[in-house]
C-alpha cells in the first residue's frame, strides 16, 4: 500500500540559501505525523512547499498518487490537501461565517457546506456564538480554532496544521491539542508542525525531528518522546 503523502529528497531554497536540504517522509491515511524542531529548522517551509506557495528546488512530492511539485497553490486544495498556516492568517475583516465559507470555496454542495459549518460550530462553540463578528476581533486561540475549522471546510484527505499552539495560553493550547486528538479519533489524517514537542509527540503516530533543513531523527511518537537526545534538546531536560 502506498502512502497518502510521499515526500522524497525534498529541497527548497530561498535564492541561494537552502532551507530544506533533502528530506523524506511519508504520511499514511489515518495517521497523525508530526514534524518538530526549533525555529528555522525548515518545518514551515516544508508545509508551504507542499501546498504550492513555494516551489521545490529538488526532490519529489506525491500526494494521493499524483505528483505535486509544480501544481499552482490554488489548485492544491482541490486535490484534498488543506493547510492551516502558521500565524493563523484568518481573513480579519470578514466574519467568522464568511471565513468558514471561504474554506469551502471550491465546493458546490450548499447543503453539505452548511452542515460542515454547523460541525465547525459544534467543534468550537465560541465560533458559532460569534459567527457574525469580524474574525480580526477574535482572540489568538479563537483565531486558531477558526483557522482549523476553515481548513476542515474543504473536506481534506490530509490536514496540515502549522504551529497551532503558537502564542496561546496553556489552557487554550490544551483545548487545541484536545481538538487534534478528537479529529484523529474521527479518522482525520494530519500532518502537524509544532515547536511544542511534548504535546505533538504524545499524540502523533510518527514523528520526525528537523534540524537546519534536515530530518535528524524519526520514529513513532512515543519512542521519540522517551528518546534521551530529544528530551535533552526539545523538552528542556538535562
Amino acid at each position: 500500500m502506498t502512502a497518502l503523502l510521499e515526500v522524497e529528497d525534498l529541497r527548497v531554497a530561498y535564492g541561494k540559501i537552502e532551507a530544506v536540504k533533502g528530506i523524506s517522509f511519508s504520511v499514511e491515511a489515518g495517521q497523525v505525523v508530526t514534524l518538530i524542531g526549533t525555529n528555522g529548522a525548515g518545518k514551515t517551509t516544508t508545509l508551504r512547499t507542499l501546498s504550492g506557495l513555494l516551489k521545490p528546488s529538488g526532490g519529489r512530492i506525491t500526494f494521493d498518487g499524483k505528483p505535486l511539485g509544480n501544481v499552482p497553490a490554488h489548485k492544491i486544495v482541490a486535490l484534498g490537501l488543506a493547510h492551516s498556516p502558521e500565524g493563523r492568517h484568518i481573513f480579519p475583516r470578514l466574519t467568522i461565517a464568511e471565513n468558514l465559507q471561504l474554506g469551502a470555496f471550491l465546493r458546490t454542495d450548499k447543503a453539505g457546506i452548511e452542515k460542515d459549518i454547523q460541525r465547525a460550530y459544534d467543534l468550537f462553540p465560541i465560533l458559532g456564538e460569534r459567527r457574525k463578528q469580524a474574525a480580526g476581533t477574535l482572540s489568538g486561540g479563537e483565531q486558531q480554532m477558526l483557522a482549523m475549522g476553515r481548513a476542515l471546510m474543504s473536506q481534506p484527505k490530509l490536514l496540515m496544521l502549522d504551529e497551532p499552539s503558537m502564542g496561546l495560553s496553556p489552557i487554550m493550547m490544551q483545548k487545541i491539542m484536545e481538538t487534534i486528538v478528537e479529529l484523529k479519533a474521527a479518522g482525520t489524517t494530519i500532518l502537524l508542525v509544532e515547536q511544542n514537542a511534548q504535546a505533538a509527540l504524545s499524540l502523533a503516530d510518527q514523528g520526525h525531528v528537523m534540524e537546519v533543513g534536515k530530518i535528524v531523527l524519526s520514529g513513532p511518537g512515543s519512542d521519540l518522546l522517551h528518546d534521551e537526545s530529544v528530551r535533552k534538546a526539545y523538552l528542556g531536560e538535562d
Binding site: P72, A73, H74, I76, P85, F91, R93, L94, L102
Partner: protein
C-alpha cells in the same frame, strides 16, 4: 448664498465623476498595492473607444440608443488595454521592488497617450463628442441641472451600488476581499488570485469608461491629454477617501468635487482672498484639502489604519 444649491449640484456631479475614476485606483491598490498611474489613460482610452463606437453607428441613431452602445464600446477598449497592461507590464514585475511597477505605470501612461496622439485619426486636436447638453432641467428657481450632470449623477450611484453588491454578496466578490486581505491564504482556499487581480483591473477600467462618456458628453469633446489631470484628481479622491476602500473612493470624489466647486464660488468673497478664488485656484484648494485631511487622518476618510499583519 443664493447660488449655493447650484454650486452643490455642480460639485456633486464633478465629485461623482472623480469617484467613478477613483474606483480603478482603489481596487487595484487594495489588491496588489500598486498605484496604477496609467489609469488616467485607461479613462482617456475609454473615451476614444466610445467615440469610435459612435462614429461606426449609422447616422441618425438617437442618443438614447447611442449612449449605451458608446459606454459598452468604451468599456471594451479600456478593459482590453487595462487587462493587457496587467498581463504584460505589471504581472512580470510582481514581487519586484515597489518602485519598478510604479515607474512602469508612469511609462505606460506616457506610451498610451502618445499612441492615441500618434495613431488615432485627428487626435492631435480635441475630437468632438455627440451634442448632448441642450436644455437643462430646472429643479428649483436657483437650481438647474445640466443634462450631462444628471447623467453622471444617476449612473455613478447605480455603478457603485452594483459594485458594492458584487463585492459583498457574490462568490467572486468574496474571493476578491480574501485576496485583498491575505493573498497567500486566499490561494490556500483555492482562489485563483491572478484571475482576481485581472478582475480588479477590468472593473476599474469599465468604471473609467463610464466616466469618460460622462465627461465627453459634458465637455462636448475629448482629447488625448484629458486623462492626466483627471487621473491625478481621481487618485487624490481615492487617497482622500482611504485608498483600498471602494466606498472611500466615492466619498473622496464627492468631497473633492464639492471642495472645488465651493472654492471657485466662495473663496474670492472672503475679505483679503479675492485673488485666491475662482477657477484658476480650484486645483490648489483641492490639494490643500488633501494635505489637511492627510495630516489629521493619514489613512483617509474611510481608510483603516494598517496594523502589523501578524
Amino acid at each position: 448664498m443664493h447660488e449655493l444649491p447650484q454650486q452643490l449640484a455642480n460639485g456633486l456631479a464633478l465629485g461623482a465623476l472623480y469617484g467613478l475614476i477613483a474606483i480603478g485606483y482603489t481596487m487595484v491598490y487594495g489588491i496588489v498595492q500598486l498605484i496604477n498611474f496609467a489609469h488616467g489613460e485607461i479613462f482617456m482610452i475609454g473615451g476614444f473607444g466610445a467615440l469610435t463606437t459612435y462614429i461606426m453607428l449609422p447616422s441618425g441613431t438617437t442618443l438614447l440608443v447611442a449612449i449605451p452602445l458608446m459606454i459598452i464600446g468604451g468599456a471594451i477598449a479600456s478593459v482590453a488595454v487595462a487587462t493587457a497592461a496587467e498581463r504584460f507590464a505589471y504581472r512580470p514585475l510582481r514581487g519586484a521592488p515597489r518602485l519598478a511597477p510604479l515607474i512602469t505605470a508612469i511609462g505606460l501612461s506616457i506610451v498610451l497617450q502618445q499612441l492615441v496622439w500618434g495613431f488615432y485619426p485627428d487626435a492631435k486636436k480635441p475630437r468632438s463628442f455627440p451634442e448632448f447638453q441642450g436644455e437643462s432641467f430646472k429643479l428649483l428657481d436657483n437650481l438647474y441641472l445640466q443634462r450631462a450632470d444628471a447623467f453622471v449623477l444617476v449612473l455613478a450611484p447605480l455603478c457603485m451600488l452594483a459594485l458594492g453588491l458584487f463585492v459583498a454578496k457574490s462568490r467572486s466578490g468574496r474571493a476578491m476581499q480574501a485576496t485583498a486581505q491575505d493573498p497567500d491564504t486566499a490561494k490556500l482556499m483555492g482562489i485563483n488570485t491572478d484571475r482576481i487581480i485581472v478582475m480588479a483591473f477590468a472593473i476599474g477600467a469599465a468604471f473609467a469608461a463610464v466616466a469618460s462618456v460622462a465627461y465627453g458628453l459634458d465637455k462636448g469633446q475629448i482629447n488625448f491629454e484629458m486623462g492626466f489631470i483627471l487621473g491625478l484628481k481621481a487618485f487624490t479622491a481615492a487617497v482622500l477617501g482611504g485608498i483600498g476602500n471602494i466606498y472611500g473612493a466615492m466619498v473622496g470624489g464627492v468631497v473633492l468635487g464639492l471642495a472645488e466647486a465651493l472654492s471657485i464660488a466662495y473663496i474670492e468673497e472672503i475679505p483679503g482672498m479675492q485673488q485666491l478664488g475662482g477657477g484658476a485656484w480650484a486645483n490648489v484648494w483641492a490639494f490643500v484639502l488633501l494635505i489637511v485631511v492627510l495630516l489629521v487622518r493619514p489613512q483617509g476618510l474611510l481608510g483603516e489604519r494598517v496594523t502589523d499583519r501578524a
